[in-house]
């Protein structure tokens, strides 16, 4: 590894962290404004034009607030929990392909930090570590509400992780790779519209999206932090910056989930205009951002629309509906792929589907 490569990677890491943390801050703003719009309110509009500086004000408030550590908590784990929530959530961005390769100053630079042959599994490994933050926070707080929040959260996350990982197997069967970059490249046909969600994985996408809602503890699956029954759930006893770290973890998990939905099912950076000479990669980046933004908006929209699940309904839904449906999707995709290759159906497809 030369010094130049090292510097380029360091700059990329810094840039991605900066953009993601800013995006996390503005997600809270967007959430409050959109929810306010749905509920016919105004939302934050005092700090700066249209309230645009509200995230900054919130951040300053979080930093300067008194950091209370209750006396009866298990101190070490209590401090460790927000860190374990935030770090894996941010580490996933190391492998998410935001855009294609790009030529600047005669150098070939990829618009993602790194890519390797099991990068999809890396994202899943990091998101599966995210549950520790919540569970440890619930346990160490030494409070009934926190403990219930942590218990609910771990049961919910284990249950929905199954459906989540099974829902993407269909995509893997179609693409034949665990490399996120290759998965995006495989969707570049049909003038940039050969997205997996169109080409035969709509069920997979539906399961993925619902399971991801449950994994990120969003409405309608927000039982671990249901404020009407558990005060604040696992973060009842947290304040100041530790509380903010839980929120940052949650919102960056949301962004990760939106990025993964874009990459796996909505063609990543693919779209019309990405084949152009110089500005192609930038158009790709714009497509990626637009898709992620739409997913984030859908999250907030769902929050403003749907009521919360009851706990038994949540478990029934995960185990008795999503899981069998995901297994059906795998069997269906595998059968279809086998028949497609066995009878060599590719030439009989319409011309535009063959990329002509």
């Amino acid at each position: 590894m030369t010094l130049e490569m090292f510097l380029i990677t360091a700059v990329k890491i810094g840039l991605v962290l900066f953009i993601i943390l800013t995006a996390v801050a503005y997600c809270t703003y967007m959430e409050r404004r959109v929810l306010a719009f749905i509920q016919v309110r105004l939302g934050p509009n005092r700090v700066g034009p249209f309230g645009l500086l509200q995230p900054l004000a919130d951040g300053i408030k979080f930093i300067f607030k008194e950091d209370v550590i209750p006396t009866d908590v298990t101190r070490f784990i209590y401090i460790l929990a927000p860190i374990t929530a935030l770090v894996p959530a941010l580490m996933t961005f190391a492998v998410i392909p935001f855009g294609d390769r790009l030529e600047i100053f005669g150098k070939d630079i990829s618009l993602y930090i790194t890519g390797f042959n099991v990068s999809l599994l890396f994202v899943f490994a990091m998101t599966s570590l995210g549950v520790y933050g919540i569970v440890l926070a619930g346990w160490s707080s030494n409070s009934k509400y926190s403990l219930f929040g942590g218990l609910r959260s771990s049961a919910q996350m284990i249950s929905y992780e199954l459906a989540l990982s099974l829902s993407i197997i269909g995509v893997l069967i179609q693409v034949g790779s665990l490399d996120l970059v290759k998965i995006v490249e495989a969707q570049s046909g049909w003038h940039g519209f050969q997205w997996n969600v169109i080409a035969f994985q709509p069920i997979g996408f539906l399961i993925f999206f619902i399971a991801v809602l449950a994994e990120t503890n969003r409405v309608p699956f927000d039982l671990p932090e249901a404020e009407t029954e558990l005060v604040g759930g696992f973060h009842t006893e947290y304040s100041s910056m530790k509380f903010a770290m839980f929120f940052m973890a949650e919102y960056s998990a949301m962004i990760t989930a939106s990025c993964m939905a874009t990459v796996l099912f909505f063609g990543g950076w693919n779209g019309p205009g990405t084949q152009l000479e110089t500005i192609g990669p930038f158009i790709g980046l714009a497509w990626f951002t637009l898709k992620v933004f739409l997913f984030l908006f859908t999250y907030i929209w769902i929050r403003g629309t749907l009521p919360r699940f009851r706990y038994d309904q949540l478990m029934d839904f995960g185990w008795k509906l999503l899981l069998p449906l995901a297994i059906f999707n795998i069997v269906f995709t595998a059968t279809w792929k086998f028949l497609f290759h066995y009878y060599d159906l590719a030439p009989s497809l319409p011309a535009w589907m063959q990329g002509k």
Binding site: I77, F116, S128, L129, V135, L136
Partner: protein
């Protein structure tokens, strides 16, 4: 002195990473054993798993490294933590694990175990084993999948049957045990429960209304 400096200069980045993760693995696995609270043990075990996954990457087994984190750290240990939280036994922790006389037997026997393994490694010809050129390809998902679904299909199917049995077994064990004696009594003596209802006039009670 010369040997030390020449040894130090021969170290590569791989060596440093290996020693770093080996130290983390050994320290955290010692923590697993030394901690009294099972929750701390479980957390230490997560660190062991993670550093072993890093060692897998050094051995060019990326697929297994990722699976190690997902399955062990993300599922199995979460299950342990879930049960520890569900039972929520803090009072008992101080009473348990007062090692007593046992440690005078346990530690030497483990030392003997390790020395046996060490001797086996020392007197074998393992050092002469150099990495095969095929080792880079051995860890890819394709190779493992190919073997799993052709040559080792039977172990794979047996493992799935095992998982199925484990699910059923765990359900049977963990579901609340029914009161067997009361059920047996109900089966043996149905007369009591099927006693005829009292006549309607007996059930009514006359109340004087003034």
């Amino acid at each position: 002195m010369d040997t030390i400096t020449s040894y130090l200069s021969s170290l590569t980045a791989e060596h440093y990473f290996f020693f770093l993760f080996a130290i983390v693995a050994i320290a955290s696995s010692l923590e697993v054993v030394m901690q009294r609270s099972p929750l701390y043990s479980a957390i230490a075990l997560v660190f062991t798993m993670a550093s072993l996954a890093a060692n897998f990457v050094l051995l060019k087994a990326q697929f297994l490294a990722a699976i190690q984190i997902i399955v062990y750290a993300g599922a199995i240990i979460v299950l342990f933590v879930f049960v520890i939280m569900l039972l929520n036994v803090r009072a008992e922790e101080s009473r348990l694990d007062r090692f007593g006389a046992l440690r005078f037997i346990a530690v030497p026997s483990a030392l003997v175990l390790f020395l046996g393994a060490f001797a086996a490694i020392r007197f074998s010809n393992l050092d002469t084993l150099s990495p095969s050129p095929a080792s880079a390809a051995a860890g890819t998902t394709e190779r493992i999948a190919e073997l799993m679904f052709t040559k080792y299909l039977l172990p794979f199917e047996a493992a799935s049957v095992l998982i199925m049995m484990a699910i059923v077994g765990a359900l049977v064990l963990a579901s609340r045990a029914r009161d067997v004696e009361a059920e047996m009594a109900a089966i043996e003596a149905p007369a009591e429960s099927e006693a005829p209802l009292p006549e309607p006039e007996d059930r009514l009670e006359e109340v004087e209304v003034s």
